[in-house]
Structures are given as C-alpha cells and as structure tokens.
C-alpha cells in the first residue's frame, strides 16, 4: 500500500470528507510524528509501536571502495519499535501454529 492508496481507503470510509482533506489529515499526522522526533521527543502509539530517536556517536569509518579512513560525524537517527499487539497480530493472522511448543 502506498500513501495514495491509504488516502483512498480512508476517503472511501468517510464519504463526507473530500479526498484532499483526507490527504491533508494524513500528512498532518505523519508530519506531527516527524516534528516530535525532530524535537527529540518520542511518539508512542499503543498497539502500533513507538518512534524514538537514537544518537549515534562519531566514528572512524572507511570508504568501502578505496579503503580510505574517513571521519563520520555523530548523528541522530529515527528508530521504530513494533508494539506488542501489532507484533502478535502479524504472527497470528494467517493461521495458528504460533505457540512456541509447536515445532512442525
């Protein structure tokens, strides 16, 4: 599913909204998540997952082509951790057999 399909599905379920409003709503939600992380905050959506920011220290890296040592500055990277409910749903959807004692 890509964003335009998501917009269409939400619009189909909400016939009283214009498609461009649905598009705007989805963009507001996504931008709000990015803006929070850009402030160093975490976004926790129960049942779905949590977006957090991790700090990576500066390091000596290597140019894989030439082998030259290069200095890599420290950086902040976004990270997503899947929520418990979603993780379970991904493994229960297409059939049983998810119990840990079930080997075959």
């Amino acid at each position: 599913m890509i964003k335009s399909e998501l917009i269409q599905r939400i619009a189909a379920a909400n016939p009283h909204l214009y498609q461009r409003d649905v598009e705007r709503i989805i963009n507001i939600i996504l931008d709000e998540i990015i803006a929070a992380m850009a402030r160093g905050e975490r976004v926790e959506l129960r049942g779905f997952g949590a977006f957090t920011v991790k700090h990576r220290a500066a390091r000596q890296g290597r140019n894989p082509r030439t082998g030259d040592t290069v200095f890599v500055e420290d950086k902040f990277v976004p990270f997503f951790k899947t929520g418990k409910e979603l993780r379970e749903r991904l493994n229960n959807s297409e059939g049983e057999g998810s119990s840990s004692t079930d080997f075959n």
Partner: protein
C-alpha cells in the same frame, strides 16, 4: 533527549487544530489511519508512505537461541517481523534539527 512523549491524543489534537474537524472525529481518523496501516501489514503487504518511510514484513526462519539466564538452548520459532525504514526526508529533518540544537548548547 527531552523526556516528552506524544500519543494518539496529541495527533488527534493536531488534526483538530489544523483541520477544524470535531475532536472526537479527529481522534477517530487518527485511529482509522493506524488501523488501515495495520491491516495492510497483517495481510503481508508493505506500506510505503512517501516522505515518511516504509514498513515492510520480513519472514524469519527457525533458529537456535539461548536463554540468557540459564544458557539453555531453545528453538526460536519462525516468525514475521516488522521493519521500518525511515525516508531520507525524515532522517534529515531529525538529524538537522537535533544536531543544530546540540551545537547551540
């Protein structure tokens, strides 16, 4: 990193403030968007949201793990895991904002 945490309620508030829909409807839309993403993933379909990032499903085969407490070997059953890959736009806006803030400290 600052300790604040955003939740569904904050996302709904942003929709309410910026679009002007009633609060309860804003909250329902936030929920609906998350539900649509979840149901796509449940069907094994990846979700690509341009300028945000993409959610994909990976199938992991069985492997042998260890109980870290007892050292005992236990089979880890095959499972599906979700991986999120942030877009370059997301990576850049986060890194730029926080690096700038760090430099100003």
């Amino acid at each position: 990193m600052s300790g604040k945490t955003l939740t569904r309620a904050d996302l709904a508030e942003a929709v309410f403030q910026k679009v002007g829909l009633p609060r309860n409807e804003s909250a329902e839309l936030v929920e609906l968007v998350l539900r649509e993403i979840v149901s796509s993933l449940e069907r094994g379909e990846s979700v690509k949201l341009s300028s945000f990032g993409s959610f994909g499903i990976r199938d992991k085969g069985e492997r042998i793990g260890r109980n870290p407490k007892t050292g005992e070997e236990v089979p880890i059953t095959p499972r599906r895991v979700l991986v999120f890959r942030a877009s370059n736009i997301m990576k850049q806006s986060i890194n730029n904002a926080l690096s700038r803030r760090k430099a100003a400290e």
